[in-house]
């Protein structure tokens, strides 16, 4: 089943074109990695999907809900707020800088979105949160505040927080870029486990080996366009596009 469909997506920041016509689709259970040089538009693409940026052209469809379309006069039409909220909850996002709420304990941070947004009871939400914390190996940390946690622990809490809302797709925006190599491994392990459980994911990353190991498909972006897309083994060992080739040689 197709979960996300993006067609001819365009995004500009002032005069600067950041996304110049991106089209791809994502299927249920698929892990898609997006790689490419800094400034190629990877993060912006994720931010357009998660409605943190408004697009300037093209269309996005999530689980058959039209999120945004563009008519023949190039006018962009976003869906009504209710549909947008429904779509928002289908996509979880894990940030590079975690973005936990510093004034909330780990448990409350995971409980509050469930009770406020999904209207779960506090008991229900707490149960979900504890289950996820256990899965993340953070059971003893439920009363801790983010300032007392390592970067890796904070990122695991933020993954638990996103998962608590049962998203259809979990998006990762360079989830390990703020972490040292040891903590990076810690997070990659968690994402790998989710991949084994057939969680549908989009991972923007600079960890090439990781992208090759866990992805079903890889997109290489350059200068606001998809330069190459395909099977990870194929793309990493035998890239077709010279730009991909040049980029990947730096990682060997």
């Amino acid at each position: 089943m197709e979960i996300i469909r993006v067609e001819n997506l365009q995004k500009e920041f002032g005069e600067l074109g950041v996304l110049k016509g991106i089209s791809f689709s994502l299927h249920e259970g698929e892990v898609l990695s997006i790689i490419g040089p800094s400034g190629s538009g990877k993060s912006t693409l994720l931010r357009c999907l998660t409605q943190l940026e408004e697009i300037d052209g093209g269309s996005i469809t999530v689980c058959d809900y039209p999120m945004v379309t563009t008519d023949e006069n190039n006018t962009v039409h976003y869906s009504d707020p209710k549909t947008l909220q429904a779509i928002r909850l289908k996509l979880g996002l894990v940030f590079q800088s975690f973005n936990l709420f510093p004034h909330m304990s780990v448990l409350r941070d995971i409980v509050e979105p469930q009770t406020h947004v999904l209207k779960r009871t506090k008991a229900e939400a707490t149960e979900v949160a504890r289950k996820l914390l256990k899965k993340m190996g953070l059971s003893e940390k439920e009363d801790a505040y983010p300032c007392h946690l390592s970067g890796g622990q904070q990122q695991r809490v933020s993954i638990a927080r996103a998962l608590a809302l049962n998203p259809t797709v979990l998006c990762f925006d360079e989830p390990t870029s703020a972490l040292d190599p040891e903590l990076t491994m810690e997070i990659l392990k968690v994402i790998k486990e989710l991949a084994h459980e057939k969680m549908t994911m989009i991972v923007v990353t600079h960890e090439m080996n990781f992208a090759r190991d866990i992805s079903d498909r890889v997109i290489f972006m350059d200068d606001g366009l998809i330069a190459e897309e395909g099977d990870p083994k194929e793309l990493f060992t035998n890239p077709k596009n010279p730009r991909t080739k040049r980029f990947l040689t730096r990682y060997e």
Binding site: T50, R88, F95, V117
Partner: protein, 204 residues
């Protein structure tokens, strides 16, 4: 002198009760994307911070009389004058606090599906409060001492009462005693703020 102290305290508390929420509203107006609103609010803040409070009190009390021939209660005028002045200062403190919150906090709230109101009341404002407590403390301490200005339009607060007593008794003693009153009130205020700061110290 007790009656004077009571009047001073009444000015103090009424000013806080009205100007703290009003300041938040003013801050929101100052940060508004609507140019007309933000410019208007900015001019208001400039006038409030750019002219002496004593002058503002006189204006608030006498302007309605000269404009409409209507006069009103002196004490009410004092409260109005203090509230609109302090709201401007509080607004700038709130604004500094609100603008210091990382954009990531808003983005996380947005992605989690929180409404704008919930994001402000539950995510942003609690963090703002912690950051602005020291600056608020400063302003509140100043307010205690500023209540002495109420006598400008004839409200007998603590300092006026003390001055009158000093004149009657040919002694500066009552004024010193008034000083002790102000000092004690402010000691309580600073203690309270220290306490709030400690209460909010469970994270950083």
């Amino acid at each position: 002198m007790l009656a004077g102290t009571f009047t001073s305290l009444k000015i103090f508390f009424l000013t806080l009760i009205f100007s703290l929420p009003l300041g938040l509203l003013v801050a929101k107006g100052r940060m508004s994307k609507n140019k007309l609103i933000s410019t208007t609010v900015n001019i208001y803040i400039m006038i409030m911070r750019g002219t002496p409070l004593i002058l503002q009190l006189i204006f608030v009390y006498f302007a309605p009389y000269y404009l409409f021939g209507a006069s009103y209660d002196r004490f009410t005028a004092v409260i109005v004058g203090f509230v609109i002045n302090y709201a401007a200062y509080f607004a700038e403190i709130y604004r500094g606090g609100i603008q210091s919150i990382e954009v990531g906090q808003y983005e996380a709230s947005h992605v989690l599906g929180f409404s704008k109101v919930h994001t402000f009341t539950h995510i942003v404002f609690p963090q703002v409060l912690k950051r602005i407590i020291p600056a608020l403390g400063n302003e509140v301490i100043t307010l205690i001492k500023d209540t002495a200005l109420a006598q400008t339009i004839g409200v007998a607060e603590l300092f006026r009462v003390a001055q009158n007593a000093a004149a009657r008794q040919f002694s500066t003693m009552p004024i010193f005693i008034a000083g002790i009153f102000y000092f004690v009130m402010n000691a309580i205020v600073s203690r309270s703020f220290d306490h709030i700061e400690k209460r909010l110290d469970y994270y950083h």
